[in-house]
Symmetry: C2
């Protein structure tokens, strides 16, 4: 039985989520040899500034390339969280930017201040790459190595070091969270 | 009855066809209020360097986001021309980069030396934008104004003038071709 894993990245236009989608797709498709479809859709309301990119990863050819019932939702602002949360699988992973999406209407979620972490690195625009690092650590949809290769192939020349730091910051934030979650869930071990 | 218009952009990785697909999609979706889906797909062979982006434009919601039977194929090198020509609609528009896809196995086509035109502007990498200018002039899928807005919103800061010239070079090359075609087809008017 083949698997199908759907990731939706959403936020405002200008947060670089289409680039993030392409990087994630290339990490899985080019560097890991998976079948991947990466999609953006626009409707007449697209000028409003909401932006959404989708990545579907499979070990077999993909029949329908859009996310039907996402396994993962990354919501980089409040509007996109409110808009897309209803589509997420009931047991799906919700990851929100704690800086820009503070009101999370679901108990089970991961909140990381991606925008603040990027700002601390001196470049708020790199919040998308911080988020990719966290997604890789949380989902294992792609390996850190593939993701770093895909990031470095796509970001502007001269920003490689910054983007490596952004990836590491995201992985680190997710990793510390997981450590904490494991401690909490297994206090007696 | 709604329309559905499918454009496939193909060439080697590094020719910027995914960016071209995003720009074309944003021109139609954000600046003209059409329904648009833009897709990249990768399979296990993706490392080979062939790159393909698809844009589906409609005046109604799009059910299936990938190109099924493209109305337009832009082939930026010989390999992608040979690979994707069989999928093109029999009466579809074939546009090839005459610099890198010299052997065209179909009589009816448009050949423009996109890469040479971009090189003449001092930046071979801008061949994708030259090609977008030509596609807009040939298909009228998007207006020149929308396309220029979409280009300027996506290209790196400091390259705006170069990219405007690249667009103009593509539109101009296509326009002169159309003038020639009209003269040929209507000599007695």
């Amino acid at each position: 039985m083949s698997y199908r894993y759907e990731i939706r990245l959403a936020g405002s236009g200008g947060q670089g989520l289409i680039l993030a989608g392409i990087i994630l797709a290339e990490a899985a498709g080019i560097y890991e040899g998976k079948f991947v479809c990466q999609t953006q859709s626009y409707g007449p309301a697209a000028r409003g500034g909401a932006s959404k990119a989708e990545v579907v990863i499979s070990d077999a050819e993909i029949d329908y390339p859009k996310a039907i019932r996402p396994d993962v939702l990354l919501a980089m602002n409040q509007k996109s969280l409110d808009l897309y949360l209803p589509d997420l699988k009931p047991d799906g992973l919700l990851v929100v930017d704690a800086t820009l999406a503070p009101e999370v209407p679901r108990e089970r979620h991961v909140a990381i201040p991606f925008t603040k972490l990027a700002r601390d690195l001196g470049k708020e625009m790199a919040a998308n790459i911080v988020a990719l690092g966290a997604l890789a650590a949380l989902t294992r949809a792609v390996t850190p190595e593939s993701l770093e290769k895909a990031v470095l192939a796509r970001v502007p020349k001269g920003t490689e070091e910054l983007n490596k730091k952004a990836l590491a910051a995201g992985m680190d934030a997710a990793g510390r969270l997981q450590g904490k979650l494991q401690e909490e869930s297994a206090p007696g071990e």
